[in-house]
Amino acid sequence: MDRDLLRQCLTYHGESLFNKLKCEQTENPDFQAVVSDLCKATCERSEERKRGCTNCKSDGQDSPLVEQFIARKADILFCPAWKTATHQEEEHEQEEDAAEPYAIMPPVELFMAVSFEERRAMLYRDLEKGDIVVGKINNIREYGFFLTLLCTAGGLKRDIEDLELSALCHIREIPSTGSHDDPLSYYQIGDFIRAAVKDIDRYQEKITVSLLQPSLSPTLEHIKLGVFPREELPIHYSRSVCAAADSTETYECILKSCHGYHNPSVVEYLLEKVGVSDTHPPSMMRGLQSKLFQEEDFASAIRKRQSASWALKCVRAGVDHFKHGRHVEAMNEYNKALDIDTNNVEALVARGALYANKGSILKAITDFELALESCPDHRNAKKYLCQTLVERGKQLEEQEKLVTAEGLYRRALSLDDLNPDAQEALNKITDTIQVSIRLREEALAKEQEKATSSQISAEKLRKILKEEKRMKKKRKRSASSSSSSTTSSRNSSPSSSNSSRRRSKKKKKRRRRSERGSKRNRRISSKESRRSEGKSEKDRREEEEEVEWYPAPPNTSATFLNQKGGPRFGERDEEEVVGKAAEDKRICQLYSLSAASEDEESDSSRREKKGRDREESRRNSLSRSPEREERGSRSSDRRDESSERGKQGNGKDQRGSDSKRRSSSDENRQRKASCSSAEAEYSRKSNFNPEYLGISGSAESRMRHDSSQRNSFDGGRYENRVRQDIPVVEEAKGEKDRKGNVENSSSSRSAGNRKKSEGAVNHNKQSSLTSVPGGSAKKDLPSNLLDIFNQIAKFEKEKGVGPK
């Protein structure tokens, strides 16, 4: 309890209040602490009263009710925390008069007609050093000038004009502009002067003022001292002059005539000025002490919780949609959830997962990051972000952005330092970076040698392609996306030779499978398309921004559906949750695999297993790089030979490939090649995603479907062709550098792409000679290649629609 305040109150109210206080506040320990002290105060007061010094008006008139009230509320009234206002000096009127935010009133004592002596005493009591006074020069002497004080400015507003106060401004207190000038020469009798109070002699009633800026109190520092024109006289002074002149003017009249009184926000302004909080308003009611209100009862807190729960409902509905494969609806629900509750963690995670599933890895990352921002310990968000980062890193790796990828892996590890994927990928990439640096120069040298031979093979390829075109018209399959289905897992292990090899095996199997189940195919191919999105060249990335854009909920349906295939995330989710510790493969790969194998007949799954085993062993054996390199070179030697074979009828090829499929390790290499070719097509297709998007959904999906089927048949042929393609790769690259002409484009349509993917794959797994140039070519893929690709895409489309 504020002792001084209480004493002041008791002095005013007397003993009856003290008795009531003692009665009401018996249980207040604060009061008990000060009670003896207060006893004295009341005694003094009664003595005073006996002497008749006190103002009698307050006695007797104060109803006991008021005293009762004070006594009851004493704990609130005299609580130190009750005083919230901090003492703040008022702004100078000069700043406010342009737009008077509240009614600036003349001093009340003017209306009250307080006696001269009392006002004079009050002024001497209250005027302080550093205050501002306004006066008129009435006398100039050699040692300074004298002011007749008109009014005060700054905080204190008093009516002093008729108090006959005069103040001295010494010459030392006048700032001099020039060293030789007499500062006094600037001042004339009658000038209005704003000056700071320098000293007050309360006994002799003398005031000295200063024109030096530093003599002002800190809160008034911004006010300029010195001469000012008549128009700048303080408003309260000019109003009081008016009021004094016209006795009919009342306080209320002036108040209502003031511009500031009608300011609609005058209450807020003045509350701030007075220092009362309107958000936690004071109240004498015990039930309304706003500090007792619980934070979670406030509207914003409830709204937040409610939004979260509503949003969570939407998320649940979205997840449900998702599990049933209705991705558009799911996305709509997630977006709705985020509309209701921006930054809802669950919604962000779910949407991010959906994005990731759909291949919009960058968007997924953004969502996960947002989620982690508001909830840094969200387990799923962390896990998903980690996985997505690894995925993105692998994409970047394929784009040869090894350093960036490495950074992403490191980040993934920082999120989850036990993540085996990230760890593995990081280890690999550090190796790869070193290897690639070593190999780069070598590769460049080889590239130049190859340039001549590639020319020839390009010619051959052109012929083959023409032939193929003719043949295709008889068939009703499109080449466009088929191959993509085979490559589903390609991205998953971009850096390591062994994993890509393993994948190639799987791909083959899948290709076979695809003949049977078109539905599955589509699913896989959709995955492919997603893979492909991230994988290709640099400019892909920019494209992605546009292509991958998901429109707002109502519109999502078309584009969304076309791009994406069947459900997979639910599976993914579960898989992730269940056992992700042991996997050294990518999750998505698992999904596609598991999804497929479930549908698969027993023999195929058996085969798959076999393939996996084989792949395992292969991985072990392949880890020795010398062997790999040797093989790579061997394969390039055989290219011409194989290209010849590629010319053969494709029915035979198909058979051949079928027979070959289960056999030797030598054939494995072929398969690898085929795989890469497929990837190439696939990647090319992905390049044209924007274009594809333009096509009506049904057409596209049909095409993809067709293509996957076709691909399964064409597998063998492609295998052969790829070999011959490899030289073409170099050629194509050369073209690119030359800003390749359109003529070539048709012949090298697949070649270019093949080269790209092949380059990437080769580089990563074999470090073969071709790989590095291929990779570098990819990097500086010129924009005119896009034209070529466009043509290819169109061609593919025709093919896809035409035959069969």
């Binding site: 002095t11 307080v114 009342t250 004498m284 015990r286």
Partner: protein
């Protein structure tokens, strides 16, 4: 003043509010109950206002709307808390501090079911919302669309500044007169005194009580400070406001 006719709620309720201290014995049990109900509902409005982050003036408007509404209709005819919610909503519109019905419903729901989970977005919620909006229209019609009122707040703040100049700055900064008078002003909306006295009188009375509570003495000239601030106010007016106000504090002990 107490109308003997029970058929007219206006004459019955209003005078009782205005002079709760002068109650007789006949039929007072009911009116006393009504007074207490109104007090509780106003408390609800205040508390809701704080939780909604409403400023003092909109809350004051809501209370005035509430009192004026029940000045015209019987308390038994309408659910007072629903009326209060609608008043808060309407006051937000009138005073340009728009409050969303959702927040009002949420806060009210939690007020009545403390610690409960927020409402679901279901039919119950939308029904509540509909009734709030419908009731708002009812209030508007009952008040003949006269929903803007003059409040004492503006006066009080200007008075505060004027009085502040009279007091030594250190004494002023030590004494929480502004807070106390503002609290008193807000509290007076618990009862119908906010519509039975003129705003200036209420402002002067609250300031008077605040100064009185701390024993702050102002210089006296030919006129008292309050005579200057408001020409037509008398000491009796001030005392009547203060006594009505103090009644409310007594009521708090009885009601809550």
């Amino acid at each position: 003043m107490e109308g003997p006719s029970f058929s007219l709620p206006v004459t019955r309720i209003r005078p009782l509010w205005l002079a709760p201290g002068r109650r007789g014995s006949a039929g007072d049990a009911e009116s006393d109950r009504e007074l207490k109900t109104h007090f509780r509902v106003c408390r609800f409005i205040m508390e809701t206002g704080v939780k909604l982050g409403m400023r003092s003036v909109p809350v004051a408007t809501a209370c005035v709307l509430y009192h004026r509404f029940f000045e015209r209709v019987k308390l038994q005819a309408y659910e007072p808390y629903l009326v209060a919610m609608s008043c808060v909503y309407l006051a937000g519109k009138v005073e340009e501090q728009h409050t969303r019905t959702r927040d009002i419903i949420n806060v009210s729901h939690r007020y009545f079911n403390s610690g409960s989970a927020p409402l679901e977005c279901d039919k119950e919620f939308w029904d509540l919302r509909d009734s709030v909006v419908q009731c708002e229209l009812l209030i508007l019609r009952q008040l003949n669309f006269q929903v803007s009122f003059e409040h004492p707040h503006k006066y009080l703040l200007h008075y505060l500044l004027s009085v502040k100049s009279l007091v030594n700055r250190h004494a002023w900064s030590r004494t929480p007169i502004a807070e106390t008078s503002w609290a008193l002003l807000r509290d007076c909306y618990h009862g119908a005194l906010c519509i039975s006295h003129t705003p200036q009188h209420i402002a002067v009375a609250t300031l008077h009580l605040a100064l009185n509570s701390y024993g702050v003495e102002l210089p006296v000239g030919e006129k008292e400070w309050w005579q200057v601030l408001c020409v037509d106010v008398t000491k009796a007016d001030i005392d009547s406001v203060i006594s009505d106000l103090l009644q409310l504090y007594d009521m708090e002990a009885k009601c809550i």
